[in-house]
C-alpha cells in the first residue's frame, strides 16, 4: 500500500488530469447532446490547436494566451463551417461518426505533414512551476487548465440554463418541431453551438501545448477516455462532464499509484462499458 502522501499526490494529479479530460469533453458533449452529432474530429482539432499554439510561440514568440486569442475565434469559425457542411448534407448521428473520423485522419495527416511525427515540446518558463500545499505539489499550468475547465463548464451550464438561446437549444434538442412552433430557429442556433464546441477544442489545445509533449498520434490516445467522460457525465451536460472528468482522472491516477501505471486505462473503459451495458438509456 502506498503512503498517504503518495495517495494524496495521486488524487491531486488525478483531479488535474481530470480537468484536462473535462476540457476536451465539453465541446464533444455539447455537440453530441444538443445537436446529436458525434464529432470524432474534436480531438484532432484540439491537437491542431496545440500545434498552432506551439508554432506561434516557437516561431513568432507569441505568448500562449495571445496565440489562444487568435486560435479560439478562428476555431469558432471553423466549427460554424463544419456545421454548414453537416446541415447541407443532412448528416445523421451515425454518419457524423464516419465523416468526422475521416476529418480526424485528415487533420492528423496535416499535423504530421507540417510538424512530422517527432515529439514536440513547448518549453516555457512556467512548465515546471508549481504551488506547494503542505506535502503536496500542484503544477501551476495544470491547475490553470483545471480552473479553466471548471469555469467554462459552469459558464456553459449557466448559459444553457439561464439564457433564452440556451433554453432554446435544449428545447430544440428534445423536440425541434415544438420548439419551432414557439419561434425557436434551431438551425441558426446549431451553427453557434458548433462554433462554440470547436472554440473549446481550441482552448483545450492551448493548454495541451503548454502541458504535454505533442505527437500526431495523440489524437487517438484521448479518444476512449474522453468518450467515457462524456457518456458518464451525461450528453449535453457540461457540469456532468466536469465531474466525470474528475472521477475518471482520480480513478486512473489512484490505479497508477496502487497497481501499475499501465493498468490505468482499464478503469475508465470498464466504467464506460459497464455504463453502456447496464444503463444504455442514459445516453
Amino acid at each position: 500500500m502506498p503512503s498517504l502522501t503518495l495517495l494524496g499526490q495521486s488524487v491531486v494529479s488525478g483531479l488535474l488530469a481530470g480537468g484536462l479530460y473535462a476540457l476536451l469533453a465539453l465541446g464533444l458533449s455539447l455537440s453530441w447532446g444538443l445537436l446529436r452529432l458525434v464529432n470524432l474530429s474534436h480531438f484532432a482539432l484540439a491537437l491542431l490547436g496545440a500545434y498552432l499554439t506551439y508554432q506561434l510561440g516557437h516561431a513568432f514568440h507569441l505568448a500562449p494566451w495571445l496565440a489562444a486569442g487568435l486560435i479560439v475565434p478562428a476555431f469558432f469559425a471553423l466549427g460554424v463551417v463544419l456545421h454548414v457542411v453537416f446541415a447541407r448534407f443532412r448528416v445523421t448521428e451515425f454518419t457524423s461518426l464516419l465523416v468526422t473520423f475521416g476529418l480526424a485522419v485528415i487533420l492528423e495527416s496535416l499535423i504530421q505533414w507540417f510538424w512530422t511525427a517527432d515529439y514536440r515540446r513547448y518549453e516555457t518558463p512556467w512548465a515546471s512551476a508549481s504551488i506547494r500545499v503542505g506535502p503536496l505539489f500542484v503544477p501551476t499550468l495544470e491547475l490553470l487548465a483545471c480552473l479553466t475547465a471548471a469555469t467554462l463548464a459552469v459558464a456553459t451550464w449557466a448559459w444553457l440554463r439561464f439564457t433564452y438561446v440556451g433554453k432554446a437549444l435544449r428545447a430544440a434538442a428534445e423536440d425541434p418541431a415544438m420548439a419551432g412552433a414557439f419561434g425557436v430557429n434551431h438551425r441558426a442556433h446549431a451553427f453557434v453551438l458548433s462554433g462554440i464546441s470547436a472554440a473549446y477544442a481550441g482552448v483545450a489545445g492551448a493548454f495541451i501545448a503548454l502541458i504535454s509533449t505533442l505527437a500526431p498520434a495523440q489524437i487517438w490516445a484521448w479518444l476512449g477516455t474522453v468518450f467515457a467522460v462524456v457518456i458518464i457525465g451525461g450528453l449535453g451536460n457540461p457540469v456532468g462532464a466536469l465531474l466525470a472528468g474528475f472521477l475518471i482522472g482520480v480513478s486512473e491516477s489512484v490505479t497508477m499509484a496502487v497497481a501499475a501505471p499501465a493498468w490505468a486505462p482499464l478503469v475508465s473503459f470498464s466504467i464506460l462499458i459497464g455504463l453502456l451495458v447496464l444503463r444504455p438509456e442514459r445516453v
Binding site: 433564452y164 435544449r170 418541431a177 415544438m178 420548439a179 419551432g180 412552433a181 414557439f182 425557436v184
Partner: protein, 242 residues
C-alpha cells in the same frame, strides 16, 4: 375574419391526412372541430401552427398568407399551439417550458406580466416551477402546455385534445380554464374527441371526417344531426339497424 382555411389539403410525405378542409374562425369565437380518430384533426391544427406545410389550398390569418411564413415565425403573428399529447420539453423545468413560450419578440418583453397571469390561472405550476416538466402528472402537464402557449400572448389559441387521458374531474377543470382564457379575449380553435364537451363550449363547430369537413354550424344543430353518430359509430341512423 381572424382565421380562414380554404380547401386545404395536407399530406405526410405522400400519405394524405387532410383532403379538403374549409373553415373559418372569427375573432372572439370558440370554434370546435370534432370527428373520429384519424380524421385529420391534429394534422389540421399542426399545419395552422406551422408544423407542417399544406399541399394545396389557402391558409390566412388576419389577412396574412401563412403559407408564406417560415415555420418558426408563425407564432410571432399571434398563433400558439397546445399540441396533442402536450409535447412538453420533459427534461426542462416547468418555468423553462414557459420561457420557451415567450421566446419570440414582444411576448418576451411582457414575460413577467404574462407569467404572473399564468401562475394565477394555474397556481400548481407556480409551486412546481423548478420541477422537471416530465415529472408532472397528466393534468399538470396539460396545464403547463396551456401555460406555455399563453406565454406567447396569442390572439388565436389552438387546443388539440386537451381532455385526452385525463380523469373526468380534471377534464371539468380544464374546460373551466378554457372558458376563463376565452373570457380574457383569446380566440380559441378546439380539437376534441369528446363531442359533448366540444359542443358545449363552442360558438360554432365543424365535423371532420376522413380528412374532409363534412358539416359545420351551431352546436345545437349539429348535435341533432345523425352525421356525428355516423362518423363516430358507423351507424347510419340514430336508432334501429340499417
Amino acid at each position: 375574419m381572424l382565421l380562414e382555411v380554404r380547401r386545404l389539403a395536407i399530406a405526410y410525405g405522400d400519405a394524405p391526412a387532410v383532403w379538403d378542409a374549409t373553415l373559418e374562425v372569427d375573432a372572439g369565437e370558440v370554434v370546435s372541430v370534432i370527428g373520429p380518430n384519424g380524421a385529420g384533426k391534429s394534422t389540421l391544427v399542426n399545419t395552422i401552427a406551422g408544423l407542417h406545410r399544406a399541399r394545396s389550398g389557402e391558409l390566412r390569418f388576419a389577412g396574412l398568407d401563412l403559407g408564406a411564413v417560415a415555420p418558426h415565425l408563425v407564432c410571432r403573428h399571434g398563433i400558439a399551439l397546445v399540441p396533442e399529447g402536450r409535447r412538453l420539453f420533459a427534461r426542462m423545468s416547468v418555468e423553462e417550458n414557459l420561457d420557451i413560450g415567450c421566446y419570440r419578440g414582444e411576448a418576451r418583453r411582457a414575460r413577467r406580466e404574462t407569467l404572473d397571469r399564468v401562475y394565477h390561472l394555474f397556481p400548481i405550476l407556480s409551486e412546481r416551477r423548478r420541477q422537471a416538466a416530465g415529472s408532472l402528472s397528466g393534468g399538470q402537464q396539460q396545464m403547463a402546455a396551456i401555460g406555455r402557449a399563453l406565454m406567447a400572448r396569442p390572439r388565436l389559441l389552438l387546443l388539440d385534445e386537451p381532455s385526452l387521458g385525463l380523469a373526468p374531474a380534471v377534464v371539468d377543470h380544464m374546460f373551466e380554464i378554457i372558458r376563463a382564457i376565452h373570457a380574457e379575449g383569446v380566440t380559441i380553435l378546439l380539437v376534441e374527441q369528446n363531442v359533448v364537451r366540444a359542443l358545449e363550449i363552442a360558438d360554432r363547430a365543424y365535423v371532420l371526417e376522413e380528412g374532409r369537413v363534412v358539416a359545420g354550424g351551431a352546436p345545437a344543430v349539429l348535435r341533432e344531426q345523425t352525421r356525428i353518430q355516423e362518423a363516430y359509430l358507423g351507424l347510419r341512423d340514430g336508432g334501429g339497424p340499417s
